[in-house]
Symmetry: C2
Subunit: 168 residues, 2 copies
DNA sequence: CACTTATTGAAAATGGTTATCATTATTATT
DNA sequence: AATAATAATGATAACCATTTTCAATAAGTG
């Protein structure tokens, strides 16, 4: 995978722009990346989708909107967005990665996951976020200091057996 | 993937046995699975390894100890152990899954991960476990009640850029 | 011992993801 | 505007971890 070089700076928050475009376009300009049609389409799709989507999911939709968009570009764009911290990449163990906007103004709030080890069902939960925020914030501070790590995101997952599967 | 059926019961704690074998052998008996040579080898290897290993890593070692052991069986065994909650499966985004014993008496303590989005470096950390335990315990209780979920394990990961990569 | 069922491993198939490379689009420069 | 320099694209092929298939073998049972 080609590694992109990221200049750190503003958060990916809507409305922080200086050039009038959508918030993410500034992020692109800042790192010297171009704002192109395929990239716009991919981000639009992520915006509209209130779910974890696979690369193929995105490709199918993108291709429907603009048949000239190829699967490779979808992968590249998702990868780039992940490295920029705009998208979070998940692997739930079913062989394909899932992607999700980190801050989707129109979409789901930040959440964590409950994953069934048997049927692979995923439950998103966003309760108890106050407690989590406190905990995460504290830990994140300590870790970034101790390891000189620039932390941009986190994931919490619980594994086990869902209501169905636990009865077996 | 074939789904195995798991009878719940004892924890995978050493020395809780009733048939004299190693602790995990009872777990196997309990679910009607056979204790075979390849399975013993795989578990032995996991015991000896103080690290996250890939299926291929395990296969190479297993094959060295007993050349008749095939890669397929390694995959199957790791998968089975994961579903039994004896092994935890991780995906750090480099295309191959990693496995680790959940309770390794001779190995590493429970820990969480710091993952570099650029170079994919993994840092294991186990500091602040007291705070984490408190937080995890509370959340786990709430979640298992609310979602009728039988939680057996969890993972916390922080994403960002490591000391090296953040300077770019 | 005979029987039933689980386990195994070699090989082939699958399928998500990446690398290649010639073409095209975008930005910078004149 | 025209041109040069560079980044982005997409079709195809390659890659490689993981699964499936299936006949052979081993383990528990009566």
């Amino acid at each position: 995978m080609k590694i992109i070089f990221i200049k750190k700076g503003e958060d990916n928050v809507r409305g922080k722009g200086h050039r009038g475009g959508a918030w993410w376009q500034n992020r692109f300009h800042d790192i010297g990346a171009r704002v192109t049609a395929p990239r716009e389409v991919v981000i639009d799709i992520l915006h509209e989708t209130d779910d974890h989507v696979s690369a193929t999911d995105v490709y199918v939709k993108a291709h429907a909107m603009n048949p000239s968009i190829g699967l490779t570009t979808v992968y590249r764009t998702l990868d780039m967005l992940t490295q920029m911290g705009i998208v979070q990449k998940f692997d739930f163990g079913d062989g394909k990665a899932r992607y999700e906007l980190v801050n989707n103004p129109d979409g789901k709030k930040h959440h964590h996951h409950l994953i069934c080890l048997r049927c692979k069902a995923i439950i998103d939960y966003s309760e108890f976020l106050d407690d989590e925020l406190e905990f995460i914030g504290k830990t994140q501070n300590r870790l970034s200091k101790k390891y000189n790590f620039d932390i941009t995101d986190h994931a919490i997952s619980f594994y086990g057996f869902c209501d169905q599967c636990k009865r077996v």
